[in-house]
Subunit: 400 residues, 2 copies
Amino acid sequence: MPKLSAKGGNMPASPIRKLVPYSTAAKAAGKHVYHLNIGQPDIATPQVALDAVRNLDRKVIEYSDSDGFSSYRKGLAEYYTKVGIPVSPADIMVTTGGSEALIIGFMTAMDPGDEVIIPEPFYANYNGFATMGGITVVPITAHIEDGFALPPVEEFEKRITARSKAILICNPGNPTGSLYSRQELEQLAEICVRHDLFLFADEVYREFCYDGATPFSCMNLAGAEQHVIMVDSVSKRYSMCGARVGAMVTRNREFMSTSMKFAQARLSPPTFGQIAGEAALQTPQSYFDAVAAEYVHRRDVLVDGLNAIPGVICPKPAGAFYAMARLPIDSSDGFCQWMLEDFTMDNETVMMAPGTGFYSTPGAGLNEVRVAYVLKVDDLRRAITIIEAALKVYPGRLHC
Amino acid sequence: MPKLSAKGGNMPASPIRKLVPYSTAAKAAGKHVYHLNIGQPDIATPQVALDAVRNLDRKVIEYSDSDGFSSYRKGLAEYYTKVGIPVSPADIMVTTGGSEALIIGFMTAMDPGDEVIIPEPFYANYNGFATMGGITVVPITAHIEDGFALPPVEEFEKRITARSKAILICNPGNPTGSLYSRQELEQLAEICVRHDLFLFADEVYREFCYDGATPFSCMNLAGAEQHVIMVDSVSKRYSMCGARVGAMVTRNREFMSTSMKFAQARLSPPTFGQIAGEAALQTPQSYFDAVAAEYVHRRDVLVDGLNAIPGVICPKPAGAFYAMARLPIDSSDGFCQWMLEDFTMDNETVMMAPGTGFYSTPGAGLNEVRVAYVLKVDDLRRAITIIEAALKVYPGRLHC
């Protein structure tokens, strides 16, 4: 048999997928599993988006332009301008999810052997996108004690080498839920300008900021216009992950023009998803208000509940719908697997994402888990009770 | 400004995109343009597929599994079995168009510096997918005089080096419309087995075979089961290019398992498109019969019409909906641009794809164009009249 690529061997397996056989077995054994492991919200997609698809009046489902339907790009420019990010349709390329925006953006910016600096814990699939391009991820550890604040700029500067090409941040952050301040971002921009680096800003959780906080977009970093590549998606905003529609947004025309060559090779982003995405731009503010209120309630129940468990630390996230929690355990991979395989409370258990999958530094995240608060409050309360009971009997419990 | 990647610089521009500014200008000047340049059929998408989307009953547009909805994979396995390719759902990964099947397949098989051998002329975007992976395309020229038959196996063997990892064919072929015989394919399989190469088989035009010809799928090459990676798509079969749904099909489990890591990084193929794709499996045979009859009529009008022009050679395609034609011209790029920019017949002109874009060998295809017969017969007749008139006055006409 022909040998597969080394690249394929290097591709990281998802930290959650490793647990799937155990959750499947648990469910097959009749155990109920509370899924706090994934970012698939249970929130309904806006009616206006579903209706647009239901009222489809096309006879031929044709390709769109490679950068998306021009009417959609125009609508997106209006949306961004409305949320305080003044851009034109020419600054926007519609992509197949935020994933593709990152894949194309990485390939436009970086060659094999180049380096991207990312504060960790970070969204695990950034590793996969980097591996696809032969790009090295250079992590900087953020700490749970600081609520996963952006590490000091000196830490970034220390890691800059001749191969450094970009810094990538996620704001508001998956998996931390932390929201970077304007001042922190301005410091990052300054480094990027001084060292000629791109600044990739994954801002797909923009609408998920709580307690009156307003996100500051990297697109508004004065002086860094040619450096900033914003990644966006309809997946979380409108709870339509399956639409596979995102966007790459940048005022750097040369960057956009090169990215377009990658976009043209794959022809076009999905037509149906773009129809839903364009209609979703008409989603009323009341939808977002209701969703935010629901997530704040869930977050408070989850974070307060977890922090009430002896030995557990869980900083309160300012945005997104994830929280990282430190548990008194020896191994998050071991604990999450044990919860599915060996633990049960009234025939129920909880699935979480092991923290290790969100760190590049070996050994980091061993006693952390990511919890997605994508379930209803009653289910979250029950899940917390189960986690508390499990920690009492987990064989690898730490007593410190 | 930060420097872009060398990879981005290496990305080929599409041979057709270069002409877009000229066609835009022509249209802006009020000229009617007959588009024979693209593979976007005017055929209606099957009603059953459109209805499935219109009758959408989901409240949340969720991710599917990374390899596609299991019900769809099951349906696809039945479809393949019905067309004589017995596979199981485990042999199928649903992708975001055939494009993504090639991108993921290439990355699974090949590392930067590895080589893929492709008979030319070939679908121009293969170049882009190869460039994304840092892979070198090694062309073998097929000739219009032989109707673009598969080059002799000796020609393949001559080009095999220590870096050769795969052979890629498109059957029925874009841009040639040629259909390889079982015997030709068995010879290719033999080389692949002997030299430990993968055989990528782009079979997206399976349903477009004419004059009673039956396509032989590479999936049925006995002894090469671990070598063959089939690429498929709903784009042409059901005239729904915009659905962005395709498939990678292989019986090589290790290959599939590595490809799944790439698929998981980008989460899932489009949900709406899969709903349409699954419903499209119920398309009645009468749809395909009507479509094939229409294309045969168009092909005959086009090919007979072109061959009747002095100095023009156009082999009759056995499949797909493209034909390569040799014209008495100095440069296909120059001629196609001149048609848009400088020529007009009763305020009309024709857009074609320059042959050069389908060859890797420098200078090849200079006097060839690709013509897609995706317009109605009356329009094709008119387009041929325009091409004939243009060739009489084109300044770069060859008289040989």
